[in-house]
């Protein structure tokens, strides 16, 4: 526990130093970065120790405030989420130090750095808090600090809008959480989570508590249709913040749902089915949205919705299977989902950081203005390519390992279960197969359009590779992605205790159910290693041949087209067009405005298209506009005149006193 407290203290010290040194930005940046990276390193140790089978760490301090309590506990479930926070926090902070260097002269950098360190501390507290008041306080601190981080480029109107959407979404979600914990706490007579867990929710209807948690935490997790803030806020933030938001902050929502599940009586199959359905909807919707984005970081943000959907689907399958009495399926699905939490943190961290380096080099996030970057920045480009392969769930990367587990879980469910459950598992499996196919489409699109071919703009033509300071952290993340993909068995061993806590069964048993395939030397590992070895051998053979027989350079064959230029390349929009126009449901199709070339001597033609999120267009847009119209009626009350405001205060006081007087009468 000392190490964890040291981490918190380091974050706090970093935050203070950032503010104190704000007049000397270079020093502030160094101090905040060092504190963040050191704090993460310090925190990583206890988290891993708990996961490696060490005892849960507990700390309870007196906190002299009504209803409050300072109680921390690092149990496996908390440690499972703390580990990616700290593991991703180190490279993200170091990358941030490089990324923010051009902003050194800017006002507000000190505040930004302070918010960054506070953000890390708040996240760590969210996962470790064992008291509802502390959890909610940390939750709100996390929301506010991340809002400040998102709004770093607040001169940009779009960033301001993103920040506002994020803040509103956060607070609407938090309202549900307050209701949830008030209910649970009243029932248990204390807001300590131990007390709440002891009464298992008491007389609170589990469906109500689950529903409140699903909405409240689901906003942060980006479950559909509450994911609206996600594609807005992620791209607006600086890249290392996007990496942490996507890798860890979003997972805080999942953590919350899981934590509440452990506080309630064992979830009925229906709850699992709801999670499974939401997860599948999120996965399919998210990846389809990603297909339509021209903005590199926005596409990555949409893929976060997809990956959270995969995790949610896995958790749903696990809860359903446990309720239906299929322990092997439950074990596999829970391991898959929690393992995917780690994998997604690593690969999306890699994706956002390398995308950040790309954006840094080209000065744009528009895919159509990139192209040919792999030749200009091979190290960073290669790592972004690796992240795309991992996100498409391809061997030998880590995304494949967890997706394989998830597929195996559903396969076993579909083979063993009777009737409707088998059908459900089979359909879920099919939907996930579609998701992984679409992910390949989305990420070949991102990688192909941004990194390959001819540069599509002057900025891309003159882009230059960043120095080692930028790609050092990337390299570490890439190595992590590869390691977890090649040796998933070792990582699963660490994930198992948390899954065991979730399912209330010993970790050893879960690992046994996962089958020998993923263990060291198991079939899956052997297959993936064979693939890597074969590819290596073939590459070697090819190189030897080419060296002996020579290589001639020539133009790309243009099929008789003699003046090739970057503009004839397939664009990001055309790449996804076939799928979006022939297969995707109407709701998800992009709106296109086309002015075709006309007449014998055609003049200029125009093509414009925009992807609209159906949740925004059909649900929240109308809802918020209607609410705004109603609230406009109240605007008259807010005249801004002091005497009127005083009158309101007086009237309120009188009413309150009257109520009290009435109630105290016998």
């Amino acid at each position: 526990m000392t190490a964890f407290l040291a981490a918190l203290a380091l974050f706090a010290a970093g935050a203070l130093a950032a503010v104190a040194l704000s007049s000397r930005p270079r020093l502030a940046l160094a101090a905040a970065t060092a504190a963040a990276a050191l704090g993460c390193a310090a925190g990583l140790l206890p988290a891993l120790r708990v996961l490696a089978g060490g005892p849960a760490l507990d700390l309870s301090l007196a906190w002299n405030a009504p209803l409050a309590g300072f109680h921390l506990r690092l149990d496996p479930l908390a440690a499972l989420f703390l580990a990616p926070l700290f593991a991703l926090g180190i490279p993200a902070s170091l990358f941030g130090a490089w990324y923010l260097r051009p902003s050194l002269g800017r006002r507000g950098l000190g505040a930004f750095l302070c918010a960054y360190d506070l953000f890390l501390a708040a996240l760590a507290l969210v996962f470790a808090a064992r008291h509802a008041a502390l959890l909610l306080a940390a939750w709100e601190a996390m929301a506010v600090s991340s809002f400040l981080l998102v709004s770093f480029d607040h001169a940009d109107a779009q960033v301001r809008r993103a920040g506002l959407v994020y803040l509103v979404a956060s607070h609407l979600g938090a309202a549900f959480l307050f209701a949830l914990f008030l209910l649970l706490g009243r029932e248990a007579g204390s807001f300590d989570l131990d007390a709440i867990a002891a009464v298992r929710g008491g007389a609170v209807a589990p469906a109500l508590a689950f529903g409140l948690a699903l909405v409240g935490f689901g906003v942060k997790a980006g479950l559909p249709p509450l994911h609206l803030w996600l594609p807005e806020a992620h791209p607006a933030a600086p890249s290392h913040v996007s990496a942490l938001m996507s890798g860890v902050l979003v997972k805080a929502g999942l953590y919350g749902i899981l934590r509440v599940v452990t506080l309630l009586p064992p979830a009925p199959a229906g709850h699992g089915a709801v999670l499974l359905g939401l997860g599948l909807a999120g996965a399919l919707g998210g990846i389809t949205l990603a297909l339509g984005q021209r903005d590199l970081k926005r596409a990555l943000a949409c893929s976060t919705i997809e990956n959270v959907g995969l995790v949610t689907a896995g958790l749903g399958a696990a809860l359903s299977a446990r309720a239906l009495g299929a322990p092997a399926v439950a074990a596999l699905a829970a391991l898959a989902a929690l393992f995917h939490v780690w994998n997604h943190a690593l690969m999306k961290g890699l994706a956002f950081l390398s995308a950040g380096a790309v954006v840094h080099a080209t000065g744009t996030r528009d895919l159509e203005a990139m192209g040919g970057l792999l030749r200009r920045m091979p190290a960073v480009g290669g790592l972004l390519l690796a992240a795309c392969a991992a996100l498409s769930a391809l061997p030998p990367w880590n995304g494949f390992a967890s997706e394989w587990l998830l597929f195996s879980a559903l396969l076993r469910g579909a083979v063993d279960a009777p009737g409707a459950a088998a059908l459900g598992a089979g359909l879920a499996l099919t939907a996930l197969a579609l998701v992984s196919g679409l992910a390949a489409l989305a990420f070949t699109r991102v990688a192909g359009v941004a990194l390959l071919g001819e540069p599509r703009s002057e900025a891309a033509r003159t882009a230059h590779a960043p120095g080692a300071a930028a790609w050092g952290p990337l390299l570490a993340l890439g190595a992590g992605c590869l390691a977890l993909g090649l040796f998933p068995g070792a990582a699963l061993r660490l994930v198992a205790p948390a899954a065991a806590q979730l399912l209330d069964r010993p970790a050893e048993e879960l690992l046994l159910a996962a089958g020998p395939a993923v263990r060291a030397g198991g079939g899956l590992q052997a297959g993936v290693l064979a693939f890597v070895a074969l590819a290596g051998a073939l590459e070697l053979w090819r190189r030897l041949r080419v060296r002996r027989q020579g290589q001639v350079a020539g133009e790309t064959w243009g099929c008789g087209f003699t003046v090739p230029s970057a503009r004839v390349q397939y664009t990001a929009s055309s790449y996804a067009q076939l799928l979006l126009s022939t297969v995707a449901p109407r709701l998800l199709q992009p709106r296109a405005r086309v002015t075709p070339p006309q007449g014998v001597f055609p003049g200029a033609a125009r093509f414009e298209q925009r992807v609209q999120d159906p949740a925004e267009e059909r649900l929240f847009g109308p809802l918020f506009h209607a609410a705004a119209r109603r609230f406009r009626l109240l605007r008259g009350l807010q005249s801004g005149k002091l005497n009127l405001q005083l009158l309101y205060t007086l009237v309120t006081l009188v009413v309150l006193v009257a109520i009290l007087a009435l109630r105290s009468r016998p």
């Binding site: 040919g372 792999l374 030749r375 091979p378 290669g382 390519l385 392969a389 498409s392 769930a393 391809l394 061997p395 597929f407 195996s408 396969l411 579909a414 083979v415 009737g419 088998a422 089979g426 499996l429 579609l434 196919g437 679409l438 390949a440 070949t444 990688a447 192909g448 390959l452 071919g453 001819e454 395939a517 079939g523 899956l524 052997a526 297959g527 064979a530 693939f531 590819a535 073939l538 590459e539 053979w541 090819r542 041949r545 027989q549 020579g550 290589q551 001639v552 020539g554 790309t556 064959w557 243009g558 099929c559 090739p564 004839v568 390349q569 790449y575 076939l578 799928l579 022939t582 297969v583």
Partner: protein, 306 residues
């Protein structure tokens, strides 16, 4: 022990040597149906040997990603071949859930082929790449549903087991479902291997091509790897279908090898016949075909769950 070694050696040899025969059979069948004599059966072997001896032309646009495609696609197909049950015996590598590794390896190959195509900066190759992944994303659910149905019918979770001894009793019980499943798997095999009616591997009209247009710029050893990888992929699907339809394959090494080879030849002939008698579908029809294959196997699955 020595028997095991011989078995493994035979499986590897079959996987390495037989694949280029299949495209030869296909084109021979097509030629015969069209009333031509056709190229020799072993044409692809000599093509491969010649390509291996050639130098290569590389586009000035292309970079490091250009070579990924041929190498990874061939390696992925070969590694997938390790998971396919051998003659009268399980695969060299068999474990529960190996079907997903098979799909993943093929997907990795496709991913890299697509990146290679995009690296040339050619509009045509970009178009082919987009079509390839779009159709693959629809073929994947159909493939998974097929294998899922097989798995449910036999109660087994690995390819070797579900296409092994458990298959006989499953045919006795669930013949209609397995037949539907085989049809769907055949359609998926045609799509995954860029065959008519999804793609035309022989046309040289760029606008109608998918796979071929992606590999236009490869030459020399690269092209050899592309052709070889494609043949291995055809072998993988052929072997799966042969095992499924021949009910687990013959007994012993010799019987098993014979039944595998006969099954592969029949598969190649069937592909050739389909290619001779059908035209390529319009592009917008292809998704319907693939979704249709998925629905067929879903129907088969529902028959089993009932």
């Amino acid at each position: 022990m020595s028997h095991d070694l011989a078995r493994a050696g035979l499986q590897l040899a079959l996987l390495a040597v037989v694949p280029p025969l299949l495209p030869g059979i296909v084109s021979r069948v097509k030629a015969r149906v069209a009333g031509r004599k056709g190229p020799p059966l072993l044409q692809l072997y000599s093509d491969l040997a010649r390509l291996c001896r050639k130098g290569e032309v590389k586009s000035t646009t292309a970079g490091a990603a250009f070579h990924l495609g041929p190498v990874v696609a061939a390696a992925g197909a070969l590694a997938a071949g390790l998971l396919v049950p051998g003659p009268g015996s399980p695969a060299l590598l068999a474990f529960r859930g190996d079907l997903f590794l098979l799909a993943g390896l093929l997907a990795a190959g496709r991913f890299c082929t697509v990146l290679s195509a995009l690296d040339t900066g050619s509009a045509f190759e970009g178009m082919g790449a987009a079509r390839e992944v779009t159709f693959a994303s629809l073929a994947e659910p159909a493939l998974f549903l097929c294998l899922l149905t097989l798995s449910r019918a036999t109660g087994e979770l690995s390819l070797s087991a579900m296409l092994g001894p458990a298959l006989g009793p499953a045919w006795a019980l669930w013949a209609p479902a397995l037949l539907l499943c085989a049809v769907a798997l055949f359609v998926v095999a045609l799509a995954e291997n860029s065959r008519i009616p999804v793609d035309d591997p022989t046309t040289h009209l760029e606008l109608t091509m998918i796979h071929e247009v992606m590999v236009l710029d490869h030459s020399g050893p690269d092209l050899a790897l592309v052709l070889y990888g494609a043949a291995v992929k055809l072998y993988v699907f052929g072997a799966l279908l042969a095992r499924l339809l021949l009910g687990g394959g013959g007994q012993g090494l010799l019987g098993g090898s014979l039944s595998l080879l006969v099954g592969l030849a029949l598969f190649a002939i069937a592909v050739g016949l389909v290619e001779s008698t059908m035209a390529r579908l319009r592009l917008a029809r292809v998704p319907q075909l693939l979704v249709g294959a998925g629905v067929l196997s879903l129907f088969a699955f529902v028959l089993l769950v009932r």
